[in-house]
Symmetry: C2
Subunit: 297 residues, 2 copies
């Protein structure tokens, strides 16, 4: 397939390279021209604009951060207009389901097909062609695109026929991630104030029913004062924001996601927005005091 | 060791039998006399009261449900007075840390030692001698008791020197369990209203960063209308109640545990207190409507 690949960030580069390796003809574009080098070195082509990349492509992969960026590339940037009729747009950004639906409709009006296909797995998953892809869209479009998904991901989940359903699946994952990180901080903070060793507590929970993927991953960084930043507090302000906006548009109360959001917001407001998201524990310390109930250890 | 074992319920029976198998001399007591049969059949002895069991025991294992029951057995029931000075009381119930501390002090005043040692792992763990034990108390007492713990459990975690710390560790696990069950229900409920297949969603999350032990265990029962009851909604009303009481006594706000508690309380108030705890999802349906956003599936 002739693939236009827009957005060559930390995840985009290995994904585009994996598509080249799988035999696709890949033309990349990124606002930072230097980002195109690794793709060209791997046998891909460099375009001078998103519209330039889109011309004659069978498929346009949008690996931008937000749905608003996707709209800008497609419509203001002219990529949609440059695509041949019948081409497929893969919207792989994390966006509000309603926006995915709106963009899909605009593309349909232009004779283009869209798959709402957010991914998870991060940079490690992108490097290993091990991403998880949650996709919704027309069955025939999904079938045509499956080999492309298989070149970058390990699991492709068919979530439904309507645009927005893929984004809903991703949003449900983000809801759980956000709540679990805040819950881990709440639990660690109880240990901290009660004078129970956090390291022992981490070991206990890791073999108990209270365990979560986030407890395993973020827990050790929660015990550090200045951990390396794997994903920032403000990313969850954004992602839980999408979750709660979606709840609002569906008229759906989400009490746990809402409580978790307040703690990420507070952490950001305290000046820790760029810190590792494990540092949401600082909001608990601000709220309750870190050492009142016992030594901090 | 001569062990008095009080409370031969679904977990107590296999634990007491495992102690006999490990070579200990076990005398059991339970308010339901029939509960003593399996212990006697395995080579243990039956006592006619907790005080009767306690006479001449080196160690009294309290496998009752609450800290209040433990107090009743020890003080009103006369078991503490019947124990020889220097004997050890293992309080294995799930109780408020403050109550564990108070009971420990009363026992110390009588020349007895207490280990605050709640367990987790359920009936399956008890059967397989695979329980996790979170214990706090004097180092020498813990050292003397370790072989007893090893006869019933796989992991014994030393949580600290003070009574209450073992119960705090257990309470932290219950905090995470309660929040994770409610979060799973919140997430499943979003899928339900958005018309995304819950079975597909369960599969996606199981391989994603949003995964938790509870998602894996309770998720499938959340998809059933009348699942078998493994642990009831009202058990989490009790356990999150202990968590929030502890937060209150420490003057510590616990926003996620509090939000989760409201959902378990609502589920119980709706008449589902005896239902499987996965059915906290019914409180979400009552709150937001189950099918407003799409088909229930």
């Amino acid at each position: 397939m002739r693939i236009a690949f827009i957005g060559l960030g930390a995840m985009g580069v290995p994904m585009a390279v994996n598509l080249v390796k799988a035999g696709h003809e890949v033309t990349g574009f990124d606002v930072r021209a230097a980002a195109l080098q690794p793709l060209v070195a791997a046998g891909g082509k460099a375009a001078t604009s998103a519209a330039d990349a889109a011309r004659n492509a069978d498929l346009l992969w949008l690996m931008v951060v937000t749905g608003e960026q996707a709209e800008a590339v497609l419509f203001e940037g002219g990529a949609a207009a440059a695509l041949p009729r019948g081409a497929i747009v893969v919207a792989a950004c994390t966006q509000a389901p309603a926006l995915a639906k709106k963009t899909s409709q605009r593309l349909a009006d232009m004779g283009l097909e869209m798959l709402d296909a957010p991914v998870s797995g991060g940079v490690a998953g992108a490097n290993a062609a091990g991403l998880t892809i949650m996709v919704s869209g027309a069955e025939a479009t999904l079938a045509r695109t499956r080999p492309v998904f298989e070149a970058v991901g390990k699991r492709t989940f068919d979530v439904g026929r309507e645009a927005g359903m893929g984004s809903t699946a991703k949003m449900i994952n983000q809801l759980l991630c956000g709540v679990h990180i805040a819950a881990a901080a709440e639990a660690m903070h109880v240990a901290e104030r009660a004078g129970v060793s956090k390291a022992t507590m981490h070991e206990i929970i890791s073999v108990s029913a209270g365990n979560s993927w986030m407890w395993g991953d973020r827990g050790p960084r929660m015990m550090m004062d200045e951990p390396p930043v794997t994903s920032a507090v403000d990313i969850f302000v954004k992602d839980l924001g999408i979750v709660l906006d979606q709840g609002k548009s569906m008229r759906q109360g989400l009490p746990l996601a809402s409580a978790a959001m307040q703690m990420f917001l507070a952490a950001s407001g305290l000046g820790h927005g760029a810190a590792d998201d494990s540092q949401v524990i600082r909001a608990y310390r601000a709220l309750n005091g870190s050492q009142a109930g016992g030594p901090k250890k």
